[in-house]
Symmetry: C2
Subunit: 343 residues, 2 copies
């Protein structure tokens, strides 16, 4: 039986870019079965308080992979919304690797002055199921001058060792492990120990360590130094956005939330729902299309994935892309340009 | 009675840059009394396990301000060292504001390609006494496959409201409040509430909010957009390093750890002890000299502070500086160039 994917368009520009990713899918692999969950969005959350139901989750589990647009709307300020959809999917499906490649598609897109520094080509591997994102904690003496809020930053040997192991498995030449062991002692010590264990298991891969502040700075000052960077949930969130900025912006950045053990993955552009540009036709579909390519590559369609990636590069080369990448095309035209290159 | 400062040279290049800052002090304000604490370093920590004693702390408290070089040495891998010196000073002296200006000294130093984006001129205000840096937490089932480490991220109304208030007080036009309220709920909610309260007290200052990942990215893609950025201890650590990179590197970046209530401050360059370049004469003294200028400005020597800042800019303009800023001078020569400009 063939590949079956669930699609969750979400909010803002999410549905716009997902529609274009599906047009590309139709061009390269029309046989893939698609199940669209279009009621999982901020409108549903505002009405029912629960955007993603247990039924939705069961449907997602029954498929091979999930393609997500973006979740988030200014009308919904509660952190329960992201927690109830995106974080719930990451946590309950145990998608412990959030893999975010940062690749400069064309020299003109680099914000950096020095041509020798421009060609960033690395992967941020972010722990995706624990760390500062657990939601564990509470508030004491709320609304008083003595209010104290505590959020637990939880690091487990199971969680840290598996994500560092994954980083070493996908590395081409080097793994840079990032933590803040000089200031955050308990998780820091565990990250350091798991790093040394994984390095011992992979003598063929070079390795280094940076504190997170230095790592963020180095992504700006010397980005081509990195191959694979592995970091906690909170650190990886920040580092992957800095890396995307250095690679020319969020518009074309893809990501894969993976459970390498089961092969299930949630694929989504790194950009958010961008409500300010929703409906204007300028949203860049390449992040969603490149996320689809990651999905296909991981699920037996390597050739189609490669073809999409080549087509993306080619449209960007020719400036047949949206304004954020220096082109003048609309969302739909930019996707059509990719499809034309595929032909 | 005149100004009395304690000086803590520390490790690596710390003593080298501090010596030059003291030469500048001697040139602008020879009457300032200086008490040097030169046994607070990694060698002492390795020998005694306690680099900063209660006596040292009493001497520091008895002075008006502290100038610090840098703390850290690869021979001392224990987080107890930074915690026992730098974090102890920040916490026990209640230096709740860590103020880090990021200013481009000369257009050639910007790593950015677009001239319109280059002139970063902002202040990162970092909470300096709580957040992820408390050291509160522990490890369960250590050394077993089920090991769990927890570090508490503690945010208090007292701590958050006072640092945001300080940000509004020093702002020229805008305060951007940074948190991760969409994923870290308890502290996030408190930051959001303290932000709205402070904004209400300062109707003349514009204000905005960014999640930390977006803030870090925007420091790269649109750095001139910022005036004052206020963030938690962990977020401010990362954002101030990214801002320093965008301002041309750590070499000239100063910082002030302040208790605005008492006026006491610990002033230190943002750079670390850089053991790799210690002893080679290439360490940039401008971070330490600019930190001294911040100290003088806060302690009744505004004119001397202004003169130092003008002299720093002038030496950088003329490339009379160390290699990291495009010059060819040694540490000592670069400081001598500043002193020559002062004359
Ligand atoms: C040495 C380390 C604990 C320290 C910090 O994170 O505060 C340093 O990076 C800084 O920014 O002053
Ligand atoms: C929406 C938010 C909770 C999320 C995160 O921090 O993980 C987003 O920033 C991301 O990086 O996917």
């Amino acid at each position: 039986t063939g590949l079956r994917i669930t699609v969750l368009p979400g909010d803002g520009i999410g549905p716009e870019v997902v529609a274009q990713a599906l047009a590309v899918l139709d061009a390269v692999a029309p046989e893939v079965e698609v199940d669209v969950l279009d009621r999982v969005n901020a409108t549903t959350f505002a009405r029912t308080g629960a955007a993603l139901t247990d039924d939705d989750l069961a449907r997602i589990r029954a498929s091979d992979a999930l393609l997500l647009g973006a979740i988030g709307d200014p009308s919904v300020r509660s952190p329960d919304y992201a927690r109830g959809v995106l974080l719930r999917l990451r946590f309950e499906l145990d998608l412990y690797v959030n893999q975010r490649p940062a690749v400069l598609l064309h020299a003109r897109l680099s914000p950096l002055r020095d041509p020798a520094r421009r060609g960033i080509d690395c992967v941020i591997v972010r722990e995706n199921t624990e760390g500062a994102y657990t939601g564990i904690g509470g508030t004491l003496r709320k609304w008083t001058p003595h209010e104290t809020a505590i959020d637990a930053d939880v690091s487990t040997y199971h969680g840290v060792s598996r994500v560092i192991e994954h980083a070493f498995r996908i590395a081409r030449r080097e793994v840079c492990v990032v933590d803040k062991a000089n200031a955050v002692p308990f998780g820091g010590e565990l990250w350091q120990r798991c790093w040394r264990e994984a390095a011992g298991r992979h003598p063929g891969i070079a390795t280094s360590h940076l504190y997170v502040d230095v790592a963020a700075m180095t992504l700006v000052s010397d980005p081509t130094r990195f191959d694979v960077v592995v970091a906690s949930n909170a650190h990886g969130d920040i580092l992957s956005d800095v890396a995307a900025a250095v690679a020319g912006g969020l518009g074309a950045a893809p990501s894969a939330n993976l459970d390498p053990a089961t092969g299930f993955g949630l694929y989504e552009p790194v950009h958010g729902s961008a409500p300010d540009i929703a409906g204007t036709g300028v949203a860049n579909p390449l992040g969603a299309i490149a996320s689809l390519a990651m999905l296909l590559a991981d699920h037996g369609h390597e050739d189609q994935a490669q073809a999409i990636q080549t087509a993306i590069r080619s449209t960007v080369d020719k400036r047949r892309c949206t304004p954020d990448l220096g082109g003048a095309l609309t969302t739909e035209q930019a996707a059509a340009a990719v499809i034309a290159e595929l032909a």
